[in-house]
């Protein structure tokens, strides 16, 4: 039943090839490209209003998007086999970098996240691990017959937990959670038994008090507490949540209009062009605008999962499915944070928030997905 549903909706690759010749020659997926372009276009429109400097910030973001699209184009050309071959090495380099960060890293506000090696641009190894962990876990599980048994499951969990622990030590709980989630997503797609899933959920629930008591720092606890009761500190940590909700709620059905958002333009909303850009969208374009964007995101993820289902090898399937789920997690975390369902963690809205290297990383990931989809070979029946 479910397979049929998937088969019915997914486009046959041959069908695609006939539709867009030049696209397929460039190894691009037109549907995914269209959806991503719509999201990024909407993002630029909102950014024009959210940024203080108008066009300047939009140009700078457009430049980044251009760079990201080039990265996507590049990664789409590579054969998925190449990714598979590189996965363990990429993972090893990543782990090594994380250790180096702990030893020599630079950073701000008590956290060491950046690594500045001579001759290389500054980068965050934890950011790279967002791709490194799904690659590694997919590589590892793809060698086994699926569903995996207990021992490989434990090994896969170990592969996930190691970078997770290194990132927590930085400390960067938010990124660590996302990195660990990416490994778990691959495990889930690989066919982790429902019993084990239940067990892990239960274990996760039980670990909350442990995390609270031993792992989480005071500022992190404060964020959680503030979420529970933003009124307790309306001008301090609760300010972001309060102002974000006010911006969203006051937008109503149709919003206040483009450039008319008072919360953002009068500077009540902090981080309006970065992490809280969704609140600007919600204020100016209302419920209609938010729904449009969320539906676009859902379509991107669904399209990616189709691509994964159509993939020819176990590695490609696991990797592209994992990337799709991770992308959706970013969206959920940011949207839940901005709308006051989750504590404030510094996760930007994918493809829309201004700045950072995340837009390049994300588009590179979509490039990998397109590579999986377009580099097909005849299979032995």
């Amino acid at each position: 039943m479910s397979q049929e549903f998937v088969r019915q909706i997914a486009f046959e690759p041959g069908h695609l090839n006939r539709r867009g010749g030049w696209m397929s020659r460039l190894h691009l997926d037109p549907w995914l490209l269209l959806l991503l372009s719509l999201i990024m276009g909407l993002g630029l429109v909102v950014l024009y209003s959210a940024g203080e400097n108008g066009m300047a910030i939009v140009q700078s973001q457009a430049l980044r998007i251009g760079g990201g699209l080039l990265a996507m184009l590049f990664f789409a050309q590579l054969d998925p086999m190449l990714y598979r071959r590189w996965s363990p090495w990429l993972y090893l380099v990543g782990i090594l970098s994380l250790v180096l960060v702990l030893l020599f890293g630079a950073g701000a506000q008590g956290a060491q996240r950046w690594l500045a090696l001579p001759g290389l641009p500054r980068f965050q190894p934890s950011e790279a691990m967002k791709l490194g962990v799904p690659l590694m876990v997919s590589w590892f599980l793809a060698q086994l017959s699926l569903p995996p048994r207990l021992l490989p499951i434990l090994m896969a969990l170990g592969l996930t937990a190691l970078p997770g622990a290194l990132i927590i030590a930085q400390p960067d709980l938010g990124t660590a959670v996302l990195v660990i989630a990416s490994g778990l997503a691959v495990l889930f797609l690989a066919g982790l038994s429902w019993r084990l899933i239940m067990l892990m959920v239960a274990a996760g629930g039980a670990s909350v008090p442990v995390l609270w008591l031993f792992v989480m720092r005071d500022y992190q606890k404060e964020r959680v507490l503030t979420l529970m009761n933003p009124g307790s500190d309306p001008l301090g940590a609760g300010w972001n949540i309060t102002q974000s909700k006010a911006a969203i709620g006051s937008g109503g059905l149709h919003g206040k209009g483009w450039g008319e958002g008072t919360q953002s333009h009068l500077d009540f909303l902090p981080e309006g062009h970065t992490d809280f850009i969704l609140a600007v969208l919600a204020e100016e374009f209302g419920f209609v605008g938010v729904t449009l964007l969320l539906v676009l995101y859902a379509l991107v993820v669904i399209r990616c999962l189709f691509i994964a289902s159509m993939a020819q090898t176990s590695f490609s399937r696991l990797l592209s499915g994992g990337l799709a789920i991770i992308f959706f997690m970013y969206v959920v975390v940011n949207v839940a944070m901005v709308s006051g369902l989750m504590p404030v963690v510094g996760v930007p809205l994918p493809l829309v928030s201004y700045g950072g290297t995340s837009i390049v990383t994300l588009l590179a990931g979509f490039g990998i997905l397109m590579a999986v989809h377009t580099h097909r070979r005849m299979l032995e029946s």
Binding site: S2, Q143, K245, S250, Y297, L305, R317, V332, A336, S339
Partner: protein, 636 residues
């Protein structure tokens, strides 16, 4: 394969597709949950968050009314509002105030006193993001320098504000008083809502008396502000109604003549139009520049004014209580006639002293050898103490007090003079009440020449003298003439009708007034020295009030000698038969009234009756003559 199991690729693919299907369902569900969250926030709770958002950005701001102006009788502006550019600081936007002040001082000069005042204002309660003034009266050059450096001075603004200005600050200091910043003390006596945008309030003088009229009514505006409190635009506005303009009876030219007549002597002059009670001039010297007080005087300058031996802040005209001396003799004469204690023709021998009956106590006349045989008329002209000693003894304290009270002694006489003091009209009842002592005949005798316990203010002397000039009609002194340029002051002033002073015979008035004319014009009159060149009839009376004690301050020998001298007094009105002006003059430690006070009084009456010197007109009253028609016809 490496784990030794045969792989079923189709089975694995199906397993993956099942999981993908679950994932898609979860994605759709989660998207639904998120959309539901936004539905809740944006549709269901829309009103709530709209309110929060509006409360964020929309602030209600009071709009202060423009303070009413004050004009003299000829329409000369005495108190106006001038736009002043000041340098203000919004403390909320400054991280290090001290460093900022240092930076500002590199650009414009900020005196230490201003910094001191600024720090005091910082500690006062104020609205958040309200700019606090650091320096007033920026020059154009300073504004230009600040504008250039503004980007490096966050929280620093230049603000144009209407600030009270007194063009004749020193001349009008004791009449108008001044406005100043509202302090804690003021907040207790004002309606906080009505004063919500107002920075200044009348502190003394007429500014205080007519505070309600001058202030006007506050307006409101809804403004949109950003998160830092900066106003972006005005959404709605209800204009304030400006304060009412006041026109006074005062003539600034006369005020200036009086001021200059006193020169650098300490003293006071009050001039009244007896017909209306309008105060034409009210001077107390030395004056002080009231403009310094408006934006906040620094401690050093204030201490200098406060501690000066000359007491410039002291309003001698209305709060200076001095023994009236012989200036009350005309009133006492009328009391004696009215009470039948004496008659117009009765003759008293003045040997130079008066001996209290049944006692050895002797009271000396100011002229040792005495004036010989004198009538009451002569006694006024020559200012014979002996005559009045005897009359006072015979009348007794109670009867004198009763009669003098009718003229206004011992009570506040004016309608709108702030903090006027009533003086002391002594009587046996008063002495028992206040000092718990009996009234001795000697007290009556002293009272007969305006000494002893008797105290009066220059304003009161002018007011009582104008009763005389009016032949009994009493008109309470007043400053206010018109409100808003044409509404008569009666609409505002308390309607006080004081019964006229009645005499047994009407001729008594002319008898006494003739004697007062003789004081000035007669060959024996005590003020005869001012008569040369006098081309109108002036009735006057000299007086000298003794300085009894020095109060615990240290003076050098010279100062003691100077400040022990008697105060010189003179009261007068002119023209005697139809008075247009009543003047009282006090010169502290001026010696005798005839030599010091009377010439001053004549300068004032000369100016009023014969016109002001041209120089003065140009200097003090630009365009005054054009306004004459509207200001009324009392101008000669």
């Amino acid at each position: 394969m490496s784990w030794g199991t045969l792989r079923n690729t189709n089975q694995e693919r199906e397993l993956f597709q099942r999981r993908s299907f679950v994932a898609i369902i979860v994605v759709i569900l989660m998207t639904g949950v998120l959309i539901g969250r936004f539905y809740y926030l944006q549709i269901i709770e829309h009103e709530t968050y709209t309110t929060i958002s509006d409360r964020n950005r929309v602030q209600v701001q009071p709009v202060p009314p423009t303070r009413g102006l004050i004009y003299d009788r000829n329409g000369v502006l005495l108190a106006e509002n001038r736009p002043v550019f000041s340098l203000t600081v919004i403390p909320e936007q400054v991280s290090d105030i001290n460093a900022l002040i240092g930076e500002i001082r590199d650009i414009v000069d900020v005196p230490p006193g201003d910094v001191e005042n600024f720090r005091e204002r910082l500690d006062e309660r104020r609205r958040p993001f309200e700019p606090v003034p650091l320096r007033y009266h920026l020059t154009e050059a300073e504004m230009a320098r600040l504008a250039v450096n503004r980007h490096s001075l966050p929280g620093v603004e230049m603000e144009a504000r209407l600030v009270r200005y007194y063009p004749y600050g020193r001349l009008t200091s004791h009449v108008l008083g001044y406005v100043g910043r509202i302090n804690e003390q003021d907040t207790r006596r004002i309606d906080k809502v009505a004063y919500a945008g107002t920075h200044y309030i009348g502190k003394t003088g007429l500014e205080r008396v007519y505070e309600k009229e001058l202030h006007g009514e506050v307006g409101y505006q809804n403004v949109e502000t950003n998160a830092r409190g900066r106003v972006m635009r005005v959404l709605e506005r209800e204009d304030p109604s400006p304060g009412q303009d006041l026109t006074l009876n005062l003539d600034i030219r006369l005020q200036q003549v009086a001021h200059e007549a006193l020169g650098d002597r300490r003293g006071a002059i009050v001039a009244i139009n007896p017909e209306t009670g309008g105060l034409l001039a009210q001077v107390s010297t030395p004056g002080f520049d009231t403009n310094k007080f408006v934006t906040g005087i620094d401690h050093e300058s204030y201490a200098e004014l406060r501690d000066s031996l000359d007491k410039p802040l002291f309003n001698r005209a209305t709060r200076g209580q001095y023994p009236p001396g012989s200036t009350i003799k005309p009133m006492l004469a009328l009391a004696g006639l009215a009470s039948d204690t004496v008659t117009q023709s009765e003759i008293v021998h003045d040997p130079g002293y008066y001996e209290l009956p049944n006692s050895s106590q002797v009271f000396r006349n100011w002229k040792r050898e005495g004036h010989g045989d004198t009538t009451l008329y002569d006694a006024i002209v020559l200012s014979s103490d002996t005559y009045f000693y005897k009359m006072a003894y015979e009348m007794g304290g109670s009867m004198m007090a009763d009669h003098l009270a009718h003229f206004g002694f011992g009570s506040v006489t004016s309608l709108d003079v702030r903090d006027e003091l009533p003086g002391i009209l002594p009587s046996p009842e008063w002495k028992r009440r206040v000092h718990n002592e009996s009234w001795y005949p000697g007290d009556s005798v002293n009272m007969g020449i305006g000494q002893g316990y008797f105290l009066s203010t220059p304003l009161q002397l002018a007011a009582t003298t104008s009763v005389l000039a009016n032949r009994g009609e009493r008109r309470a002194p007043r400053h206010l003439r018109y409100i808003e340029g044409d509404i008569p002051a009666q609409h505002l002033l308390p309607d006080v009708v004081r019964p006229p002073v009645e005499m047994g015979q009407e001729s008594d008035w002319e008898y006494v007034i003739n004697a007062m004319e003789e004081v000035v014009h007669g060959s024996e009159g005590t003020a005869r020295r001012i008569s040369p060149g006098l081309d109108y009839r002036m009735a006057g009376k000299t007086g000298t009030s003794q300085v009894f004690s020095l109060e615990g301050e240290e003076y050098d020998e010279d100062e003691i000698a100077k400040r022990m001298r008697d105060h010189a007094l003179f009261v007068a009105f002119a023209p005697a038969d139809d008075p247009e002006i009543v003047v009282s003059v006090l010169v502290e430690n001026g010696g005798s009234g005839s030599s010091t006070a009377a010439p001053v009084a004549r300068q004032v009456t000369d100016a009023w009756i014969n016109g002001f010197p041209d120089v003065l007109t140009d200097q003090a009253v630009p365009g005054a003559m054009e306004n004459d028609g509207t200001a009324g016809g009392e101008q000669p």
